[in-house]
Amino acid sequence: MLWCILRSCLFRSIFAFVLIFMITFLYIYSGTQEELKFFNQQEKYISDKAPQDFFEQLKADEDTARTDFYDIHINHKGLDDGSGNNNTDSDNEEDIISILSGGNKTYSDAAILWVKLKEAEPGKYAATMGEDFDFMSFMMSAYTPYGTLSDFTDEHIAANEKMLKRTSTLDKDKIICTYELNLLKKINVSPSIVPPVSGVEYFLKRFNGDYIFTFFLVLLCCGMFAAHRRSGYINSIKTMKCGLKKFIVNQSFGHIILFTAGYCIYSLLYFLLMLPYLGDFSVLGCPVQVLPQMQFSVYPITVGKYMLILFGIKYLYFLTVTCLFGLISMLSPHDMVSLAVSGVVGIIPLIFSLTEAKGNFTEAVLGNVTSFIDRSDISVFFGTAIPIAAVMSAVYLAASAAFFLLTYICGIIQFRTVRGRSVSTVA
C-alpha cells in the first residue's frame, strides 16, 4: 500500500526536489565568495585533543581564567573580598563582579547574567566594568586549548606596553598592566593544528538558516489529502472496511518517507556543494568548542557530532512542518488552496527572521536554528542539565504528534457518513 502511495507521489516529489534544489544551488553560490574571503582571513588555532580531554582542560582553564580575573580585582583594583563590611557606593559593582567571577556558575552563565544586568539597568554600571569583563572574556578564550586569535593577543600586549611607557600612568595602572602582560605572555602561540574552522562555521550557518527546503514540503504535501478529495477517491475509500483510518495513516507515513528521503538527499547534496568550503576534514573530529558559537558549550562532543545533532534537529523541525502541511491539506477542499495556504505558512519563519534581522535579508536567511540552539539563556533556564538539543527534539516530536493526531481526527470527522434524520421528524 505504501509502495503504491510512494509511486503515485514520486514524479511530483522529483519535480519539486529538482526545483527546490536548483534554488538552493543559486542561494549557496550567490554572495558566497565575499563571505569566504572574510572567513579565510580568520583562521583559528584549534586543539587536537580528544573531546573528553579537551572538556576537562576547558573546565580547568575556565577556573584559571576566573581566578586570575578575580585576582586582578582583589589585589590590584582595590575591591574588597565580598564580605560586605565596606558599605560604599561601589559595593553593588563589587557584588556583580563577585557574581561574575565567583561561585559555581559556568562562564557562559556569568556572561549571560552580565548582559542581562546591563540591559535591565542601562547606565548603572561603570564602563570600566564592561572593559574588565571584556578582558576576562579575552583571557578566557586565550587560556582555553582551542587557542585564540594571535592578532588580538598582540593588540592587547601592544596596548599594555604602550600604557606602561606613558609617563602620566599611575602606579596602580602600572601594576595592572604588568599583571595583564604576564598573563598575556602565557598564551600559547604555537598551535598544534591550524584547520580553517570558518568553513564549518559558514556551512552550519548556511545549512541551519536554509528555509528553502520548506517549499519542497509545500509542493509535496499540498495534495496529500486534498487531491483525493478533489478526485473523489475519498468517497471510494470511505466505502471500504478500514478505508478512511488506514488511508490517513498510510498517506501520512508515505509522505513522511518521501520527505525523509528528500531531506537526506538534500542534506547530502548540500554537504557536497559546500565541501570545498569545509576545509580540512580533521576539523570534524575536533571538540565542538572550537566553533565560536559553541565555545562556551558544556557538552563534550565533536564538531562532526554537533553537525549530526543539528541535522537531526532540523529533520524533526521539518517533520513538524510536514505534519502541519498534512493537516492543511486535510482541511483544504482543493490542492491549490492547500498549496497557497501551506506556502503562506511556510514563508512565516522567513518573514519572522526578516523582522528579527531588521530587514537584512541575508541575515534573516542565515540566522535561525543555530541561533536558537545557541540560546544559552534557555540552557540556563533548564539548569544546563538538559541538553538543549533534547529539549528541542522533544518539542518538535510533540508538535508533530499533535498535528498528526489533529489530521486524523479532522479526517474522521470531515468524511464520516452520518445517519439521516428519521422520517417522523419531517412529519
Binding site: M1, C4, R7, H228, G232, T239, C242
Partner: protein, 242 residues
C-alpha cells in the same frame, strides 16, 4: 436471503431534492436502477455504499441500519464508482493490493485473492501491467476485480458499462450475471440493453422519485426498453406497483 431495504430516503442539497422519499427493497440477484442521467441513481448508490449521508431516512441490511453496522456493513459490501479513481503509474497488482488493504483483508491472503479475482475476470495475465497501459475495458475488469476481491455479499455497480464498446459490454453482462448468482448486486444504468436478459428486479427512477419497481416478469412482453420509455415519458398508466 439477504435483503437491503431503502426506507424513505431523501437527499437534499440546500433546497433542491435529489432524492425524494424513496423506499424499496433489494434482494439477492441482480437489481437494476434504471433512469436517465441526473435522475439520482448515483446519489442513491452513494447512500447505499455509505459514501454519502441521507438527509432523511435510512438503509437497512437484513433489518439493521447500515451506519450503525459500520465496519461490519462495509466488510460485506463493495462499490464500483462510475468514475473510479486509480493510480495511473501503479501496477495492477499494486492497485489491487492497495484496495485490498483498505478493505481490511489480512496481508497474507491478499496475493492469493488478487490472483483469484483477476482470473475470475479473465485478466490474470495483467498483474504486472501498469494501470495507464490498460484499455478501458480491461481497466473496468480490474475495477470489478478489486470490487469483488473480498467476496462481498452486496455489490454495488454504478454505471459499470460507461466508456465500453459493444463487445466489452457483452462481456461485462456475462460477468455481472455470474456475480448475481451468489450476491446481492445493484446496478445503475440508463442503457437498457446493458441489463436486459440478466436483471431480476427493476427500479425505475426519474427526477429523484421511484416511478416503478418490481420483478422483470411483471414487465409486459418482457419489453423493458419500451416499458422504460413509456415510464420516463410520463405514461405511467399501466403496469406493476409504484
Amino acid at each position: 436471503m439477504r435483503r437491503l431495504e431503502i426506507c424513505n430516503i431523501t437527499k437534499q442539497y440546500k433546497k433542491k431534492k435529489i432524492l425524494d422519499n424513496i423506499s424499496c427493497t433489494f434482494t439477492e440477484g441482480i437489481n437494476t436502477l434504471l433512469g436517465p442521467n441526473g435522475a439520482g441513481k448515483s446519489t442513491l448508490m452513494s447512500i447505499i455504499s455509505t459514501a454519502a449521508s441521507p438527509t432523511f431516512g435510512e438503509v437497512k441490511l437484513d433489518g439493521e441500519e447500515i451506519i450503525s453496522l459500520g465496519e461490519k456493513y462495509r466488510e460485506q459490501m463493495a462499490m464500483l464508482f462510475q468514475h473510479q479513481p486509480y493510480f495511473p503509474s501503479a501496477k495492477v497488482n499494486e492497485f489491487m493490493r492497495y484496495n485490498a488493504e483498505l478493505k481490511g483483508i489480512p496481508s497474507k491472503t491478499i496475493p492469493e485473492l488478487i490472483e483469484k479475482a483477476l482470473q475470475r475476470l479473465g485478466v490474470g495475465e495483467c498483474g504486472n501491467m501498469k494501470m495507464k497501459e490498460l484499455s478501458g475495458g480491461m481497466r473496468q475488469r480490474i475495477f470489478i476485480a478489486q470490487t469483488i476481491i473480498s467476496d462481498p455479499a452486496v455489490i454495488i455497480l454504478d454505471e459499470p458499462s460507461a466508456g465500453l464498446d459493444i463487445a466489452e459490454r457483452l462481456e461485462l453482462k456475462g460477468i455481472i450475471k455470474e456475480l448475481g448468482r451468489s450476491a446481492l448486486v445493484i446496478i445503475s444504468t440508463h442503457i437498457v440493453s446493458d441489463i436486459e436478459d440478466i436483471t431480476d428486479s427493476l427500479f425505475i427512477i426519474e427526477k429523484g422519485k421511484l416511478l416503478w419497481s418490481g420483478d422483470t416478469n411483471d414487465v409486459p412482453n418482457s419489453d423493458i426498453s419500451g416499458f422504460y420509455l413509456k415510464m420516463t415519458k410520463g405514461e405511467k398508466t399501466c403496469y406493476g406497483a409504484y
